[in-house]
């Protein structure tokens, strides 16, 4: 069987679905996806666990399925976390070089990173990630590694993702109660971005939006490093909820309507199952048709008509909600001054990206090219890689492979007697 180190499992406890992805690192160091397990999630609201026993059961199902598919025993996982309490921001650490010759030493670099991490967080908050971006030496920007340079002052920019400690503990506890180890917790938005983006796209600048059931996570990469992350505690559940409220149907029915008839824009080409009213007699054309006046007839199990629903209303309610999600992200990025950096465009993933014409809506809001994200730079189950719902779990596996790689190279070079300080500093390329 596999050595524990070569097996990497990503576990995402999502609001609508729990997903476990099993990856294996082959001899060449590449990651191969060998198994996937998923289960409907019942105990999670807005990305956070609301019913621990239910969530535990669902996680167990997903893990068991993944174990069966990959034919392995899962002992530890990389756990994705999300929730409205998670925040990301950039921080700069400053450190004056005190040595007489003003040459920057390893210790100075360590110190400046330590300074950058020492942030004034509320006491109950916990840092999930502190990712190094760039160094500055005496105000000179864009330095990758300042060791050996001369300067009076080293600064470093880090991106810090932090969240409420107790709320971060909840999913960890659920996993631990299943006798599984948690190798690390990873912000879901970051994991999705890792799964979708190629190094070129990171360099050019890209925004990844993961529209999940309970939360929408997003991350911005530019100049090869992470620039911004965020969570909106709104997702597909909200769309269903809006529909249930607006169309006055039960929640389950609303979800069904969303999947069968939903679209991100009002006028769409996907009105396949629209049953036009006989009076209109327009006939159902699959191409760009107007939905004005179209209705959907809901019937009970005996085939009796219960209710007719105006399709336009359905689309309008959905469209407004989705548009708002994009607008909120857009506002956030505008505030961060990042909208001009997204030169390779916007990528959407998560269950929400299944909504027809979501790209068009995104293009309308952001005025940038929007496409569905495809998990790249990982091989294996082709069918899974193309599914936008699995982006986070796959990203978690990829994150794990980074960590494993770092651990390994750290160990190897230590035995070689080479200084490893820099490689040990956690870094995501």
């Amino acid at each position: 069987m596999f050595e524990p180190a070569s097996l990497i499992v990503g576990l995402e406890i999502g609001t609508s679905k729990i997903c476990a992805a099993v990856g294996e690192i082959n001899a060449a160091g590449a990651v191969n996806l060998i198994g996937l397990g998923q289960s409907r999630s019942r105990g999670v609201r807005k990305g956070e666990i609301a019913d621990a026993p239910l969530a535990e059961e669902d996680v167990r199902n997903a893990i068991v399925e993944a174990e069966q598919m990959a034919d392995v025993e899962i002992r530890s996982v990389y756990l994705g976390v999300t929730g409205g309490h998670i925040r990301g921001f950039n921080n700069r650490g400053v450190h004056p070089v005190v040595s007489a010759d003003r040459e920057i030493a390893e210790e100075d670099v360590q110190d400046v990173i330590k300074n950058a991490k020492a942030i004034n967080l509320p006491a109950q908050n916990h840092v999930v990630h502190a990712i190094r971006q760039h160094f500055l030496v005496d105000g000179q920007d864009g330095i990758e590694n300042p060791v050996g340079m001369f300067g009076a002052r080293v600064e470093v920019d880090v991106h810090v993702v932090h969240g409420n400690f107790n709320r971060l503990q909840n999913p960890i506890r659920t996993v631990k109660s299943l006798q599984l180890e948690v190798e690390a917790i990873v912000f879901n938005g970051l994991a999705s971005a890792l799964a979708l983006l190629t190094p070129e796209q990171k360099e050019l600048g890209a925004l990844v939006i993961d529209i999940g059931g309970g939360t929408t996570d997003y991350a911005v990469y530019a100049d090869g490093t992470i620039k911004h992350t965020g969570v909106l505690a709104i997702g597909g559940d909200h769309v269903s909820n809006d529909l249930a409220y607006g169309l006055k149907v039960p929640l389950g029915r609303a979800e069904q309507l969303k999947i069968e008839h939903g679209a991100a824009l009002l006028d769409s080409a996907c009105g396949v199952s629209v049953s036009g009213r006989a009076a209109l007699g327009a006939g159902v054309t699959p191409q760009a048709e107007s939905i004005k006046g179209k209705t959907i007839t809901l019937s009970n199990e005996l085939g009796l008509t219960l209710k007719t629903i105006n399709l336009e209303h359905l689309r309008r309610i959905m469209s407004l909600r989705l548009e708002e999600i994009f607008q909120l992200i857009g506002q956030d990025l505008e505030q961060a001054g990042l909208l001009d950096y997204l030169r390779s465009g916007i990528f959407v993933c998560g269950g929400g990206s299944r909504i027809p014409q979501i790209e068009k809506l995104g293009e309308k809001v952001f005025e940038l090219p929007v496409s569905l994200g495809k998990a790249s730079s990982i091989s294996g189950l082709k069918s899974a890689l193309d599914q936008p719902e699995f982006a986070t779990a796959i990203g978690l596996v990829k994150y794990g492979s980074f960590i494993q790689h770092q651990k390994k190279s750290g160990r190897a070079s230590l035995t070689d007697g080479i200084k490893t300080t820099l490689s040990q500093i956690f870094r995501l390329g």
Binding site: R45, K46, A50, G84, V94, H95, P96, V98, D111, N115, A118, I119, N120, A152, R153, L232, A233, I234, D237, H238, S240, N241, D242, A244, Y245, G246, L251, N310, H313, R316, I317, L320, R321, E323, E324, L328
Partner: protein
């Protein structure tokens, strides 16, 4: 001074002053004082360490500042060269010191309230210097602060905390004393002696070490005294200082740096950021309010002021920054920057703080671009200030009126108020919108809007 008494800083030759400190040379710091206002300043040295610090200040040449020392120990009082001495004797003490019991120190001070009161008369600013952790200072300093405040003075504490090696009990006593002093004084600038370790090298003698801490505190007192008395081009008012310190009841950190030559504005900031008191600029990052005073010669340029302030503003983006710049002919070619940074106050409040009604009422932070505001409400006109500023709380009406005035004037306030009113509206909303699935989960509030409510309802899109 006897080395075997509780003396911490015997005299040293002036040349032995520590080089690591960016200290203003004593001879030049006090050029012909051009006092802007007749602010009377008094320095109270409480306890043994306080007395020593006062001694050092007197030696480094303060003018226009009167010194007073209080101690339970007659011997160290005798050795002091301060003009006013008060022996806190008490029956409880039976002619002895407090023996490290703060309760005794407090009791002794309380027995001498009238004398203390007399000392505080007609004083605008009282600095209380003390080394916390022992008996006299820890107990008496808060009492002295309270008395001075009741007499109408702005009270600033400059205290040291014991070294870690001095033991847990002493630390705890010092912390308690600090809390009490914070509650009683307007502001406390606190120097944990442990921090001095960063300033000294391995071979520094014990005597030198204590001298350094005393020097640092003396620098602090001097810096603030300069802020208040020197004529500024960009003035720091007494009220500005109040705004940074008063009512926060918190710890402030303090650092001064000086540089000469063409690159002085850059160098001075480098020194400032490297200053151990600011923990490599970390303190500035965390600061809630920052007071910056620049002092230069007639050749001080606006660009230099700008460069320094740019750096400081970048370091503390979230802080309220108050700046002042002054020109003194004696500062030719030199630029000295003094920064007082106040950390955000801790949420829990010591019970003694409740008597400070006025500070609590002052909810809005005065904004930088309305310099007149805080002086309007906070700064009692310096000439005819009633002596009982704190004793008699202002009548209800005044506070309401103040609110009204603030509302009219401050734009920054407007935002705050709007926010609160929006919150209220959410609760009193007439149309009750069910949030369905999210009824019982934590609401997703974004800029005051509950995002769980369907978007079309919030946007008022009608569905017929």
């Amino acid at each position: 001074m006897k080395p075997n008494s509780q003396d911490k800083t015997p005299n040293l030759p002036a040349g032995k002053a520590n080089q690591a400190l960016t200290k203003v040379p004593a001879s030049t710091t006090i050029p012909e004082a051009k006092s802007r206002k007749n602010i009377s300043i008094k320095v109270f040295g409480v306890g043994g360490a306080g007395g020593n610090m006062v001694e050092q200040m007197i030696k480094s040449g303060f003018s226009e500042v009167s010194f007073a020392v209080f101690n339970t120990d007659a011997e160290s009082l005798e050795n002091s060269s301060a003009t006013q001495k008060l022996r806190l004797e008490s029956k409880l003490l039976r002619g002895l010191g407090t023996g490290g019991d703060p309760d005794l120190g407090r009791a002794a001070a309380e027995e001498h309230l009238p004398e203390l009161k007399a000392l505080c008369e007609k004083t605008d600013v009282v600095f209380i210097v003390a080394g916390l952790g022992g008996g006299t200072a820890t107990g008496a300093a808060p009492v002295a602060a309270k008395v001075a405040k009741e007499a109408g003075a702005l009270v600033l504490g400059f205290v040291t905390l014991p070294f870690d090696c001095e033991g847990v009990r002493r630390q705890r006593q010092a912390q308690e004393g600090l809390e009490q002093l914070k509650a009683a004084a307007d502001g406390v600038i606190c120097l944990p002696n442990q921090k001095v370790f960063k300033l000294i090298d391995e071979n520094t003698s014990l005597i030198d070490t204590f001298k350094i801490t005393n020097d640092l505190l003396a620098d602090g007192v001097r810096g603030i005294w300069q802020l208040l008395t020197r004529t500024g081009l960009i003035d720091i008012h007494f009220a500005d200082l109040c705004a940074v310190l008063r009512g926060r009841h918190t710890e402030s950190s303090f650092a001064a740096a000086e540089a000469m030559g063409a690159n002085r504005s850059r160098e001075v900031m480098e020194k400032m950021l490297a200053h151990p008191m600011f923990e490599g600029g970390q303190m500035l990052n965390e600061a809630e309010a920052v007071l910056v005073s620049l002092m230069g010669g007639p050749d001080l340029t606006m660009a230099e002021v700008n460069r320094v302030m740019e750096q400081i503003n970048r370091q503390c983006e979230n802080a309220q920054v108050i700046m002042g710049a002054a020109v003194d002919p004696a500062f030719k070619d030199r630029l000295s920057v003094t920064v007082v940074a106040t950390r955000p106050s801790l949420p829990e409040k010591s019970p003694a703080a409740t008597d400070d009604v006025e500070a609590d009422e002052r909810t809005p932070a005065p904004s930088k671009n309305r310099p007149g505001l805080e002086s309007q409400f906070l700064s009692p006109s310096l000439t005819g200030r009633p002596a009982s500023r704190f004793v008699a709380p202002p009548p209800e009406l005044t506070s309401e009126k103040r609110e009204q005035l603030l509302e009219q004037q401050a734009t920054t306030l407007g935002r705050q108020r709007k926010k609160s009113s929006r919150m209220r509206q959410g609760q009193l909303s007439l149309e009750i919108i069910s949030k369905g699935r999210f009824d019982k989960s934590e609401p997703t509030i974004h800029k005051g809007e509950d995002l769980d409510v369907p978007t079309y309802i919030r946007r008022g899109v009608a569905l017929n």
